[in-house]
Symmetry: C2
Subunit: 207 residues, 2 copies
């Protein structure tokens, strides 16, 4: 299959329009099963080292479970505040949407019980495959006008406990999924000058 | 910006048509600078934890450098053969395209010298951001009918030495980039029944 310029441009538009969506932006509108399945299937269609597909997805709608995960976020967030004392805006940021998003998805890496093709020199490769799945899901969601926020301020072992997941599985990403009020044109942290957007000149070297 | 069904379907087509391309499939046709830049820019437009953009790209065309990297692959591949004695087909697989691809890209994670927003509870998050960049690049390349193969059978510290990169940078992905003869409809490892393709039923749990 050959793609044309217009199709490549659409991919570029989706990549550029993707945002990290937080709880101050999610609305309560439900996600249709068929759309949720499209997002999950995009994960399953990601590349994986040695075609190992080492992923496992837990879709969470249970409010009690979400509340418990939120409590863990709050604890970890409070602990992190000491690192950003010189940037007081940190205390005002909304950094997750666990309770506001109608759906949460915990994305796991399943540790292998045998040697994996392509993973013999760098054992973290399987985890990277799971991240490829998450990025596919994020883009697919955006193309369906559904927002995703990746919550990383969590204690992964604690999340395993709360979701009753054995330690054979390692949490890679905890995703909040729902329709947002809006997709901002620019990442919020860029607008508030937390960091500057990088460019090709400063990030690419040629040899 | 709102996307429609047709645009979402195009993303899906690109996701499904993406393959891992190896040296038995690359042709020597050069990649135009503007297309290479589109691929790299898709990496720069990936999500990153705390908008940290912790990536660094080294574009390699130097044949001598590529030969040295290939030698490291060969060494690591030979070492790995002992793990797959029960699957003799492993010895016949072409698992990289370092020398055949006109362009190689080493994608690095730059270790931070300060605390990163979102990376306080799980320090591997920055590396995952770099993987999101790679997946964006992979899809962008596919939309331009350019193939990428991710070589993971490498000793990352040795690659740093060969590319004269300091250990402040960690190799995440080593990509071979070029036009392929063809994009197979099905992943090669699926066709040869190395593993079965997984489905939603066996990989998704609901709570």
């Amino acid at each position: 299959m050959q793609f044309n310029k217009k199709q490549s441009q659409i991919l570029n538009d989706i990549i550029i329009a993707r945002r990290d969506i937080r709880g101050n932006n999610f609305i309560s509108k439900k996600i249709k099963k068929k759309h949720l399945n499209k997002i999950l299937q995009a994960g399953l269609d990601a590349p994986s080292v040695g075609f190992s597909q080492p992923w496992k997805f837990i879709v969470i709608k249970d409010e009690e479970v979400k509340n418990k995960v939120y409590k863990n976020f709050k604890k970890e967030y409070d602990k992190s505040k000491k690192y950003f004392k010189n940037r007081p805006i940190y205390n005002t940021l909304k950094l997750e949407g666990i309770k506001e998003a109608p759906v949460n998805i915990a994305v796991y890496y399943k540790k292998p019980n045998k040697k994996i093709l392509g993973q013999t020199s760098q054992k973290q490769m399987g985890k990277y495959s799971v991240v490829c799945a998450i990025q596919n899901m994020w883009l697919m969601a955006r193309s369906l006008n559904i927002g995703i926020g990746w919550v990383s301020i969590l204690n992964p072992k604690k999340v395993n406990e709360l979701l009753d997941v054995s330690n054979e599985y390692k949490l890679i990403g905890y995703l909040c999924v729902g329709y947002p009020k809006e997709f901002l044109n620019t990442p919020e942290l860029q607008t508030m000058k937390w960091n500057k957007k990088m460019n090709l000149k400063t990030t690419v070297t040629y040899i």
